[in-house]
């Protein structure tokens, strides 16, 4: 099921269950039951079949019982192993620095109080992470069958950037999903959907190690089941996002939640566009990551970045709600909270710095330790990446120097300039490389690489000028189509171009459907194809006739075209040669093929071209072609 179909299905579910949340719950429950049943089919089938064999073995006569026992054992071991391998999906626990109760008692006391107010279950671990996020992560111990461990992930940037009431509102939203007081069934579905989303993503990964596996069957089931369940659960989950927001607003106040949502937009982009790029750029100079990197995080977050902040805020308000995420867009959420600011987003006042931050209050003296622990954890996980990045930078520097020596002036050499740009992008980022990209496009406007990277750079700035560059990449080659379309999707979403977003998604769906067919269309010809007149001028035909007349074996020729649906602008010509028959009145296949071999290198037509004789499967195509109006372009006189 592609995006378009999914959107249609979601819309259908929304329409069908409009104002009937109870009915939707029951329907989702039914789908969940189907899901569990489908997943249990394998194990149950194995157990039942093996059990039947063992029961049969006990009651069978001598001889047959051994065979049944053997079959039963085979089913139990082989089938059980196969089922277990597929269904036993292990998800790694989230990585980060554990914040123990001893290390941050105030935080845990605060969390306990919040949990108590929302009647929310215990977390197995509280983990500080370097991401700008706060979330509850579930890791099912039994794979598709659940029994999760709950991890509360607290993003250090978020704690540093938000005030305590704002942070409380964010966590209240997350805790509401686990609350026993609020729509327990719906929250269960919400959690189930989250778990299955991760597990099914793993199940859908290609797996070719074992020849004999039930994975294809499971995948088939998942591919059928998951979009249907997800469409229903999606509608329900989105409803519960609003409900979670309502719970959080009730607990901490709507203004605090609204402020946290808006501040989150700024913080996220600030970290994504400033903190991390600057940090990784250090790798070009430093062999190892310098100590105290994360201590600078606080300063980055608090540094005044008014123009950027306004831009990011504006982008946040431009975003629209899509079916790619259960969370509604910022505007919808604020509207639901009745906290949507009036006036244009760009005119909104700058958000004040949260001082003291949630980290200051909740972590207290442990803030430094927690920050160091997060940094240490990050350092461990990225040490190899940092080393590679550093080495790569050195190699790129060397490459640039060699290039400068080999081609002192790259301005007129697109190839050399492209090599230089690649290295520059890698070393200094897209902003520095932007002029070079533009110079390449001046030399070669259809340069795929330059178009892609310039488009990427503009998308980061939510600049609609990225669109033509990315469209060019999508037209030029298959390899670039996917990444370019992703960027375009990102652009349309960030700029709130809903219509273009829908059109792009429809186009992507169409491409997914037609990709193989399009390839087949241009590389094969058969008698069932639609044939159309060649459409060539008399001048163009004259040169072909001259070639044909020079060959005494050819007595006639038909010319036409295959109609291309996927590439209507391209032309695929069919030239059918009629050769002299032998004394028995038959067309010799060898003679016909020889004639084709002689003519083929000499004929030039403005498009793809297939030259063939009246032999084998080509004979039927030739017959069809002869019936096309104006196809006979040559008949030997006499």
């Amino acid at each position: 099921m592609n995006r378009g179909d999914f959107d249609v299905l979601v819309a259908e579910v929304e329409r069908q269950f409009q104002g009937r949340p109870q009915a939707l719950q029951w329907r989702v429950a039914l789908w969940a039951a189907i899901g569990y049943a489908g997943l249990l089919v394998g194990p149950v089938l194995v157990l039942v079949l093996a059990g039947l064999c063992f029961v049969g073995a006990v009651h069978a006569d001598s001889g047959g019982d051994i065979a049944l026992f053997a079959v039963g054992a085979l089913i139990l071991f082989g089938g059980g192993w196969s089922v277990a391998r597929v269904l036993w999906v292990r998800l790694e626990p989230p990585e980060g620095a554990r914040i123990t109760r001893e290390a941050a008692p105030e935080l845990h006391r605060w969390l306990d109080e919040l949990r108590g107010q929302l009647r929310c279950g215990q977390f197995h671990e509280v983990v500080a992470v370097p991401d700008c996020n706060a979330a509850v992560a579930r890791r099912p111990r039994l794979g598709v069958f659940g029994w999760p461990r709950h991890y509360l992930l607290l993003g250090l940037p978020l704690m540093e950037g938000l005030s305590t009431p704002e942070f409380r509102a964010v966590l209240a939203h997350e805790f509401a999903h686990l609350s026993r007081d609020h729509a327990r069934f719906g929250q269960w579905i919400y959690r189930l959907r989250n778990s299955w989303e991760q597990v099914f993503a793993r199940l859908s990964q290609p797996h070719v190690r074992s020849i004999l596996s039930i994975q294809p069957l499971v995948r088939t089931f998942v591919e059928w089941f998951w979009p249907r369940f997800n469409a229903h659960a999606f509608v329900l989950s989105r409803a519960y996002e609003y409900e979670a927001d309502a719970v959080a607003a009730q607990l901490g106040g709507a203004p605090a939640l609204a402020l946290s949502l808006m501040r989150f937009r700024v913080l996220f982009n600030q970290i994504d566009e400033k903190f991390w790029p600057d940090l990784w750029r250090l790798a070009t100079r430093e062999a190892t990551a310098p100590a105290g990197l994360f201590m600078g995080l606080r300063e980055v977050i608090r540094a005044p970045a008014a123009p950027d902040a306004r831009r990011w805020m504006a982008q946040g308000f431009q975003q629209v709600t899509t079916n790619a995420d259960t969370h509604p867009c910022l505007t919808d959420r604020l509207r639901a909270l009745q906290q949507l600011p009036t006036g244009a987003p760009e005119n909104l006042p700058d958000l004040p710095v949260a001082d003291p931050s949630a980290a200051d209050i909740l972590l207290g003296p442990a803030r430094v330790q927690v920050t160091a622990a997060v940094e240490e954890h990050w350092r461990k996980t990225t040490v190899e990446l940092w080393r590679e990045r550093h080495l790569r930078a050195a190699a790129q520097e060397d490459r640039l120097q060699r290039l400068a020596t080999a081609v002192p002036d790259t301005a007129g050499d697109a190839d050399a300039l492209w090599d230089q740009t690649n290295a520059t992008m890698d070393l200094q980022g897209l902003t520095v490389a932007e002029p070079m990209l533009r110079r390449i496009l001046e030399l070669n406007p259809r340069h795929a690489g330059a178009n892609f990277h310039l488009g990427r750079h503009l998308v980061q700035k939510a600049d609609p000028a990225a669109e033509p560059h990315l469209e060019c990449v999508m037209e030029l080659n298959d390899e670039g189509f996917g990444p370019a379309s992703e960027l375009l999707h990102q652009l349309f979403r960030a700029t709130g171009q809903t219509a273009k977003l829908r059109a792009l998604e429809a186009r992507l769906d169409q491409r997914e459907r037609d990709r193989a067919a399009a390839r087949e269309e241009r590389s094969s010809v058969n008698a069932l194809d639609t044939l159309i007149p060649h459409g060539l001028t008399e001048e163009e035909l004259a040169s072909i006739r001259t070639i044909l007349m020079a060959d005494a074996e050819i007595i006639a020729a038909d010319l036409g075209r295959k109609e291309l649906k996927h590439f209507p602008k391209q032309r695929l010509f069919l030239l059918s040669l009629h050769v002299r028959r032998n004394w028995l009145g038959f067309v010799s296949s060898d003679r016909a093929q020889e004639a084709v071999n002689r003519i083929l290198p000499r004929v030039k037509l403005p498009g793809r071209m297939l030259v063939f004789g009246q032999i084998d499967d080509f004979a039927h195509v030739g017959e069809r072609l002869a019936q096309v109006q104006g196809a006979r372009i040559y008949t030997r006189a006499g």
Partner: protein, 867 residues
């Protein structure tokens, strides 16, 4: 792939549009010429193309292993034209370097090498100043094996863009080929910079390092290995890389290595870790081991379960008819004569055996030998009749004694370990390395007549086993005369007559009456309680007055001859098919020399029971007495050819028939005939038959000196007897009695004593004659039936009628009459005449009696002819 079988199948014929290229085969990976061509697939019969199955394009056929790809010629042609023309059109529209490369690639993809070569000229002209196109052409030509041409393109590319890595690698390759390592290294200097591994493949550096190492320039090699080690940390775990580094370090005498220590990794230890080249050999091995483990895990219990459900019950049936065996709750099955098997699950069974024997047997299979290990054997021995021999043989370089045991009499037996059940053990085995000896256990059924087995057991000195064996088989076949006599004989020899008597007594009441059993019992009681026997059988007859067998047996113990004869007749009338009364009546006539009357009775006996004990002997002897020698000879010759297992009996009869007819000179040929019949028999069997026949022939031919000479060369009991007979007949009586101590109780027999007495008389030693005659008299006196003979021998007056009234065999009567003829000279003629009439058995002492009963003149002549 097309294939033919005996010329029928599919095959390719024809080869057109052939294109060749150098490359590596995808299957055998050998570098060579790969051919692509159009052909036709045919259905062929005897390799004659019959049905065309379509045109095909053979792609990249390897001349070494013939591996290739096949596509429909139509599809190939279509795809080729469309893809190439599509790329060409793109290039025409946008004549960029990328599009030119795309056209070239398409031409190569479809093996259009000539067109590709032509297009390269276009590229050369159009993109002569484009470094990347030049480098591309260099790479392609090098792949196509056109190294020299490739170098030109590389050189051009390098001139245009000295930094272009493809050109540098291409030029460096050529330097490497030429051995110019430093030049190659200079070109590849960009790969030796820190971080190069992040941007470029470092394989050229590895090749260069190896080249330095081969050239003995280990310092340079180590420098490059060091770069590789720093750039690609994972390569340090690669065995081949470590080996190469260590080789250079060793060559330079380095004591410290540039290699980091290999971290312990249990996944590598078990081969689970993915190798550097990306293969999953370890995983495959582990998977294989896992599969083997699973097979063992499942297979062993399955195998044991299967074994427990499929135990082999061996059945041995020593009888000539099949036995029906029915196990409770299971369909009946048959145990044919000999060895057979039946598969059963382990458990406890109750078997009902019907057929040659009727018995109920309870047995258990499997439980006593644990969980299925070893080689246990379970045997159902029908009636316990078969004799099983369990042999344990030790095979070793130095022969060691084995052991053997016989098992019989039990209907079910089991053995915990038998390597070769019901198979002969091999003569030799090959011992494995480190194996000094091997013990094999075999179990076989002894396939021989019961009497032979019993005799064998007795000869082995295992009297108890022999007696038990006889008793076991007598229970099964109580009327088997041969076995009964053997049993009595063993009992007598091993002082076990009381046991035999008791054993036989217990079976007297069994019905139907086993005549031979009763006769044996009567033999044991002859000297002990004759009167008791009469009352015993009278008692039996009270309940079964018309039982022919009982009447016959009662007659046998009747002391009064006339009454005995009357009872025999009564028995015959009670059951005319009972051969024994007929035989008894015939025997009586035979003992009197009434040959014709005897013949009539014996003829009936032979009709009723041709295989009966001694029946044939008496019948033939009677016929010989009546002058039917020619008929007996003819029958003996015929039987001799039919019965190779009874050669002695029929050859012996043939010799007697020849002697009766005065043709004993043909005896040698008769013995030769026996030799022919025994040509396939083992030597010991052959000698065991031929020698006695030869002794007999010599005796019948009265060649006593020859007989003595022949027999003295052997030391068997038979030879000793033959020497004894020869000496007696030659008048060397003292010598004869010296080698054959008749005083030995085991040899004491009144007829022999009478014969020796007669021999002494003939030799003129009356004193010795009387001594031996008195001995004989003493023995006759002990026998109630023959007590009268003892009286006769003491010298009392006796008439011929009185002598004929006594129950004596023909031979006994003959010897008694010859002796009485000496005691009563006045009646000598009368006695000698009857004695001579009765002397029809040509065996010893035929010649002695003939001489002593001959008329005076004839006797003198006979005596002279004797040596």
């Amino acid at each position: 792939m097309p294939a033919t079988y005996n010329g029928i199948g599919t095959t390719y014929y024809g080869m057109k549009n052939t294109v060749s290229r150098n490359g590596a085969c995808v299957r055998c990976h050998r570098q060579g010429v790969l051919e692509s061509y159009d052909t036709k697939l045919w259905f062929v019969i005897f390799f004659i193309p019959v049905i065309p199955l379509g045109r095909k394009r053979i792609v990249d056929r390897c001349k070494y292993c013939t591996a290739h790809m096949v596509v429909d010629a139509h599809k190939w042609e279509t795809a080729k034209q469309l893809e190439v023309s599509g790329a060409q059109e793109q290039f025409r529209t946008e004549p960029t370097a990328e599009n030119a490369i795309a056209v070239h690639q398409q031409l190569l993809n479809f093996h259009q090498h000539a067109e590709a070569a032509a297009f390269r000229e276009t590229m050369k002209a159009q993109f002569g100043g484009h470094a990347k196109v030049q480098a591309y052409l260099g790479v392609i030509l090098e792949r196509l094996g056109q190294v020299a041409e490739a170098q030109a393109y590389y050189q051009r590319a390098h001139e245009l863009r000295p930094d272009l890595t493809e050109a540098r690698v291409g030029l460096a390759s050529e330097h490497l080929r030429q051995g110019r390592l430093d030049e190659a290294r200079q070109l590849l200097d960009y790969l030796q910079r820190p971080g190069a591994g992040q941007l470029y493949p470092l394989q050229p550096i590895e090749v260069l390092a190896s080249a330095y190492q081969k050239a003995g320039r280990h310092t340079e090699a180590l420098e490059l290995f060091g770069r590789l080690s720093a750039e690609l940390p994972r390569i340090n775990e690669h065995k081949a890389f470590r080996k190469a580094v260590k080789a250079s370090e060793k060559a330079l005498g380095r004591t410290t290595s540039i290699l980091p220590g290999m971290k312990f990794n249990w996944r590598r230890l078990v081969g689970l870790q993915e190798s550097v080249d990306g293969s999953h050999r370890g995983r495959r091995i582990l998977a294989l081991l896992g599969a083997v483990g699973l097979v063992v895990l499942v297979g062993v219990p399955l195998r044991m379960a299967w074994m427990r459900k499929h135990r082999t019950l061996h059945m041995v049936n020593a009888f000539r008819t099949p036995a029906q065996i029915e196990l409770q709750g299971q369909p009946a099955f048959e145990a044919p004569p000999g060895h057979s098997t039946h598969i059963l699950p382990e458990g406890t069974y109750h078997a009902s055996v019907r057929g040659p024997v009727t018995e109920e047997v309870d047995f258990a299979i499997g439980e006593e030998f644990g969980n299925g290990g070893g080689h246990p054997v379970w045997i159902l021995n029908v009636g316990g009749a078969a004799v099983l021999e369990l042999q344990e043989v030790v095979y070793s370089r130095d022969p060691e004694p084995g052991s053997s045991s016989l098992h019989f009499g039990e209907s079910f037996v089991s053995f915990p370990e038998v390597n070769r059940p019901f198979m002969e053990l091999p003569q030799s085995v090959t011992l494995h390395n480190g194996e000094s000896r091997r013990t094999l256990t075999g179990l076989t059924v002894i396939d021989a007549p019961v009497a032979s087995i019993a005799s064998h057991l007795a000869r082995q000195g295992n009297a108890e086993t022999a007696l038990r064996f006889c008793e076991q088989h007598l229970r099964l076949e109580p009327d088997k005369a041969e076995l009964v006599h053997l049993y009595l004989s063993f009992s007598a020899q091993h002082s076990a007559l009381p046991r035999a008597t008791e054993f036989l007594r217990q079976g007297l009441t069994n019905r139907p009456v086993a005549v031979e059993w009763h006769r044996a019992y009567q033999e044991t009681q002859k000297y002990l309680a004759p009167s008791g026997m009469v009352s015993l059988y009278d008692g039996f007859l009270q309940t079964e007055p018309n039982n022919s067998r009982l009447l016959y047996l009662r007659a046998r113990v009747e002391p009064v001859t006339e009454r005995a004869q009357a009872l025999f007749q009564q028995a015959r009338e009670a059951d005319p098919k009972n051969p024994y009364p007929w035989f008894a009546l015939g025997w009586r006539q035979h003992s009197l020399g009434n040959w014709q009357a005897a013949r009539t009775n014996f003829a009936r006996v032979i009709e009723l029971a041709p295989e009966g004990p001694g029946f044939r002997h008496y019948f033939d002897e009677t016929r010989l007495a009546l002058g039917e020698g020619a008929a007996v000879e003819s029958e003996a010759r015929a039987e001799l050819k039919k019965h190779t297992d009874e050669v002695y009996e029929y050859a012996s009869r043939l010799l007697e028939a020849l002697a009766t007819q005065g043709r004993i000179q043909e005896g040698k040929a008769a013995v030769g005939l026996a030799g022919v019949e025994l040509r396939n028999s083992p030597p010991q069997v052959n000698q065991g038959v031929i020698l006695p026949l030869e002794y007999k022939r010599l005796y019948l031919a009265a060649e006593f000196a020859e007989l003595e000479k022949a027999a003295r060369s052997s030391h068997t009991m038979l030879a000793t007897n033959a020497v004894f007979y020869a000496l007696i007949e030659q008048g060397k009586v003292r010598e004869a009695t010296a080698i054959y101590p008749l005083e030995d109780p085991a040899n004491q027999e009144p007829l022999h004593m009478l014969t020796v007495a007669l021999a002494w008389r003939e030799a003129g030693n009356l004193k010795e004659a009387m001594r031996w005659q008195n001995k004989a008299q003493t023995f006759f006196a002990r026998d109630p039936e023959k007590a009268r003979v003892a009286e006769f021998l003491l010298g009392a007056r006796v008439t011929l009628e009185a002598v004929t009234a006594v129950q004596l065999s023909a031979k006994e009567r003959m010897l008694v009459l010859v002796t009485l003829a000496w005691i009563h000279p006045d009646q000598a003629a009368e006695f000698k005449a009857l004695a001579r009439r009765l002397n029809v058995d040509r065996d010893y002492p035929y010649h002695l009696v003939q001489r002593m009963t001959a008329p005076v003149a004839a006797a003198a002549a006979t005596a002279r002819s004797a040596p």
